[in-house]
């Protein structure tokens, strides 16, 4: 008799738990952002994380973007040939890369690299009492660990996406001119003419949001990890999965916001 009620109760409890989890996460993020505004400022920490994200992710992001642009050109060509629209290759490549693929692919790569590393580092600090130690050493762990990472994510991702965009378009150009027989100059002019400021700006704004979400997930799961090495491993996995899902979901929302009329 109580089976449906139990189910309802379970549903209610799960929903409440999820909501309070989201609430705690929002407070966590808000607190960290507030601390960013409050002195003293720590440029040293910020720069360390910025370098970690931007500089050390650069080779992977560059290579991935290059191949993505190449594949995209090839696929577009063969696909559009059915409608006799091969000439659209340059436009399709440049728009797809700047609006979508540059930010999303960069985001997913950085989520795997940086989100995981941050969750592991902060999680290890949690389970070895280092976060508690910070507090006994006159240091707010939110300000010391979380705030500079969030800022670094926010600022480093757009930089990476600029590089991804350039290499993505270059990849398309390589395939377009060397394999598909387009004239180099025409291909580039084509790309340039179709491109509008909003295409690039929306992509960079997305990148910033993705960078924030990636570092937030890394910090959040790391900060709340418990139970030794296994707990840290779980935190790392959760951070990457959550960041990846959030990237794709927020990508839809942002695309809707920028381009839906």
């Amino acid at each position: 008799m109580s089976a449906p009620l139990n189910l309802l109760a379970l549903l209610g409890r799960t929903t409440l738990a999820a909501l309070s989890g989201v609430g705690a996460l929002v407070l966590f993020a808000g607190h960290a952002m507030l601390l960013l505004l409050r002195p003293p400022y720590g440029p040293r920490l910020f720069l360390r994380h910025f370098a970690e994200i931007a500089y050390f992710s650069l080779p992977v992001v560059a290579l991935t973007a290059l191949f993505t642009g190449m594949v995209l050109a090839l696929q577009t060509y063969t696909g559009f040939a059915r409608f006799n629209a091969e000439s659209a290759v340059a436009s399709v490549v440049v728009l797809s890369v700047t609006r979508e693929l540059g930010p999303v692919i960069t985001g997913l790569i950085v989520a795997g690299r940086i989100g995981a590393a941050m969750a592991a580092e902060i999680g290890t600090m949690r389970v070895t009492d280092q976060i508690d130690a910070l507090r006994t050493l006159s240091t707010d762990p939110m300000k010391y660990l979380v705030a500079p990472r969030l800022l670094a994510g926010l600022l480093a991702l757009p930089l990476l996406v600029v590089v991804a965009n350039l290499l993505g378009v270059f990849g398309g150009y390589l395939v377009g001119t060397m394999k598909l027989g387009f004239a180099g100059e025409a291909y580039l002019r084509n790309s340039w003419d179709v491109l509008e400021a909003i295409d690039v700006i929306s992509g960079l704004a997305k990148a910033s949001v993705f960078g924030f979400l990636i570092t937030l997930m890394g910090c959040w799961y790391g900060y709340n990890s418990q139970g030794g090495a296994q707990g840290v491993g779980q935190a790392t996995t959760k951070a990457v999965v959550a960041a990846s899902i959030l990237i794709l979901a927020s990508d839809y929302v942002l695309t809707e916001a920028f381009f839906a009329q």
Binding site: E121, M125, D129, T136, S138, T139
Partner: protein, 257 residues
Amino acid sequence: MSETPKIRLRGLSKSFGEKVVLEGVDLDVRARHSMVLLGGSGSGKSVLVKCILGLIPPDSGTVEIDGQDVRRLSGRDRAALLDRIGMLFQNGALFDSLPVWENVCFKLLAQKRITRRGARDAAAEALAQVGLAASVGELSPAELSGGMQKRVALARAIAARPDIIFFDEPTTGLDPIMGAVIDGLIVDCVERLGATAFSITHDMASARRIGDDAAMIHKGRIVWSGSAETLGRTGNAMADQFANGEREGPIQMELRR
């Protein structure tokens, strides 16, 4: 004892889910004296210290430091209180992303009491106190042996000359001579710096050396407290069994759990 105790605990309780760890701890720690806390592994000693420091919120009960209820303090006042407290964590809790010298001077740097330039010298001085060469300062914590890590952590805990110092098993994992050196340092902090020390230990020789007062925790409660000199012949069956390391007695090891 007419003076206000430095630390006064009343009815301090803490459970993790079903597991009751502290069940109404009452304890006074005299100012400028050294208290040692005894108790079996897993009896909640570390949790008790973290509750005092506010690192773990207790479920109920009060923690007073200098007569002030810590949980009623504003965030700023609580931070100011922590500025005056030092803590040696059981496993050291050194920051492995930083070299040893930066670990040792972390609090002084955070409080801007020294510059980064001056920190290396200050670290060398603090390291010398715990019997380590200045060159250790350039190493990363991961390059140190367990005993060296412990000494670095001790140097870090006392570098800012705290008013109250907590030592969670300061001599565990050290050889007897180094243990005695560390004990000497703790006594020194109390006698020379006028600090109040609160140490957790299993080591009876060490407890007698560093303690003025002693207390024993068992099953979440303080079952005995008194002078550290009397350890082993206190007349309290549990405390005597623990201090003398006897298998038979009121404390039954729960081996099968």
